[in-house]
């Protein structure tokens, strides 16, 4: 098996020609996208170089506290992104999103790094950080879709929920429909992705491994683990956040605290 083909900065510079080509298309067709394209290309370079140096630094430290620290930052940023999409919100929603991400990513990352890959030492950053990144990316998509749907449903179908409560339903019985609809919504993208994986497109991680010289079958095994891992992360993330929102919006007098839900300022 040949080792990975390393790239020099000159070679990366040659790839820049491809972006210039895209700029040419914009110029020819007068799309007016050149500035935005230039800005986006610069951001790609700067952001990726920055994260590259950060990773290199963390890998160099090889200390559990440094790895856990960057993991915490990643979860905090993901928790913010997860609530960004929803049109409705309430006080404390960020905390719930953060908790759901911590719980779902902690469980899946632990199972995969300690049970499946069995990395040594347990915090080996080359594994923990990229795996956590994939887990968070999928969990946050699930949480974001689930939240958006759940808050909208509880606002729109408040009359139905309260009708059930006023006929003797417990808060759980009254909330079950909107809750399960929302969790289903959160899980659909990853189920779709699992259905078409390898047929429509090769997943990024597998492509990366093959490019860097790994045997395709080895890459496939890794990819299967990754697909199951992100599916579990999305499912758990959606479920946890739905349960946390349920606990917050239904009090122990079995009332729906609908006044808490606010429209987000545009």
């Amino acid at each position: 098996m040949s080792g990975p083909q390393t790239l020099g900065y000159v070679q990366v510079a040659i790839a820049t020609a491809l972006v210039v080509l895209a700029g040419g298309v914009s110029l020819t067709l007068k799309l007016g996208l050149e500035r935005r394209l230039l800005w986006a290309a610069l951001r790609t370079i700067v952001q990726l170089l920055l994260i590259g140096y950060v990773l290199k630094f963390i890998f160099g430290l090889d200390h559990p506290a440094a790895v856990l620290g960057i993991c915490l930052v990643m979860v905090a940023v993901a928790a913010h992104a997860a609530i960004g999409r929803s049109e409705k919100t309430f006080a404390g929603l960020y905390g719930l999103s953060f908790l759901a991400l911590v719980a779902s990513s902690l469980i899946t990352t632990t199972v995969v790094t300690q049970g499946v890959i069995r990395i040594d030492p347990w915090f080996k950053p080359q594994y923990v950080i990229p795996l956590l990144g994939m887990i968070l990316g999928n969990a946050l998509t699930g949480i974001s879709l689930c939240l958006d749907h759940l808050l909208q449903e509880l606002k729109d179908r408040r009359a139905e929920v309260e009708m059930e409560l006023s006929h003797g339903a417990t808060r759980w019985e009254a909330a079950k429909r909107p809750l399960s609809d929302a969790v289903r919504r959160g899980m659909i993208p990853i189920i779709n992705a699992m259905t078409v994986v390898g047929i429509v497109s090769l997943p990024g991680m597998m492509t990366g491994q093959i490019l860097s010289g790994t045997d395709p079958l080895e890459a496939v095994k890794y990819q299967i683990v990754v697909m199951f891992m992100v599916a579990a992360a999305a499912a758990m993330g959606s479920m946890f956040v739905a349960l946390l929102v349920y606990r917050r919006l239904f009090n122990n007098r079995h009332q729906l605290c609908w006044q808490v839900i606010q429209d987000k300022p545009k």
Partner: protein, 232 residues
């Protein structure tokens, strides 16, 4: 006005309710015994519906106490309390299912204690309320608003509640249907000793239907009174 009745089923003491930041009603006390029929009237926006929501425990009152059968509502457990003191909202709320499934749904709740759904009685009530038993398998949301309002009343009556709280229960009905519904509720109250509390803006209905009547005007909070006075 604060008619005291022997062995009150529902005992409301010094109740105050708010709508958003405004206090709407205060100092309201009344009692309701088995078989009682009580009408509550008041100017629109004075807090009649808010009062019913507070009685049913869907919102918390701003002040005061509500006892059911001699115990606080939390002592019953909120779902168990609401199973016995059922609220029928002014707007008919039906799930996107058949009429039968809507009527059957509350019997799936844990508070129903595995009581079977009385399908025969449901069909009978559909006929009596002039909805028609033949509509049992029809999608509930394809019914007219008036029919939906009656299905909601039937759903509540099937639970055989001790107290039925009704918010403008006949607002979408024609004269004939109103009489049918009024007659049916009267029968439930006299035969089954159900207590009924009706919020209505129709003074005629209040007199016709109920033996007691509370006008909310004296219980309006000062700002509400000022608003109501301004409207008049």
């Amino acid at each position: 006005m604060n008619a005291s009745v022997s062995e009150p089923l529902l005992d409301v003491r010094d109740l105050a309710v708010t709508g958003g930041p405004h206090r709407l009603l205060e100092g309201l006390s009344f009692q309701l015994a088995s078989g009682d029929r009580l009408a509550i009237t008041g100017p629109s926006g004075c807090g009649k519906s808010t009062l019913l929501r507070a009685l049913a425990g869907l919102d918390d009152p701003a002040a005061g106490e509500i006892h059911f059968n001699g115990r606080g509502r939390e002592a019953w457990g909120w779902p168990q309390f609401r199973r016995q003191v059922v609220l029928v909202d002014q707007r008919p709320v039906l799930l996107n299912e058949t009429v039968g499934a809507n009527l059957c749904r509350p019997f799936a709740y844990r508070t129903s204690d595995n009581n079977p759904f009385p399908e025969e009685r449901a069909r009978q009530l559909l006929d009596e309320f002039k909805v028609g038993a033949s509509r049992f398998d029809q999608d509930a949301r394809t019914l007219s608003v008036g029919q939906q309002q009656r299905v909601c009343l039937i759903r509540a009556l099937l639970l055989s509640p001790a107290v039925l709280l009704m918010d403008e229960p006949t607002s979408a009905l024609d004269e004939e249907a109103i009489q049918e519904v009024e007659q049916r509720i009267l029968t439930e109250c006299s035969e089954r000793k159900m207590a009924a509390l009706i919020v209505t803006h129709d003074g005629g209905q209040a007199r016709r239907w109920c033996e007691r009547h509370i006008d909310l005007k004296p219980f309006l909070s000062s700002p509400s009174r000022a608003r109501a006075g301004g409207e008049a």
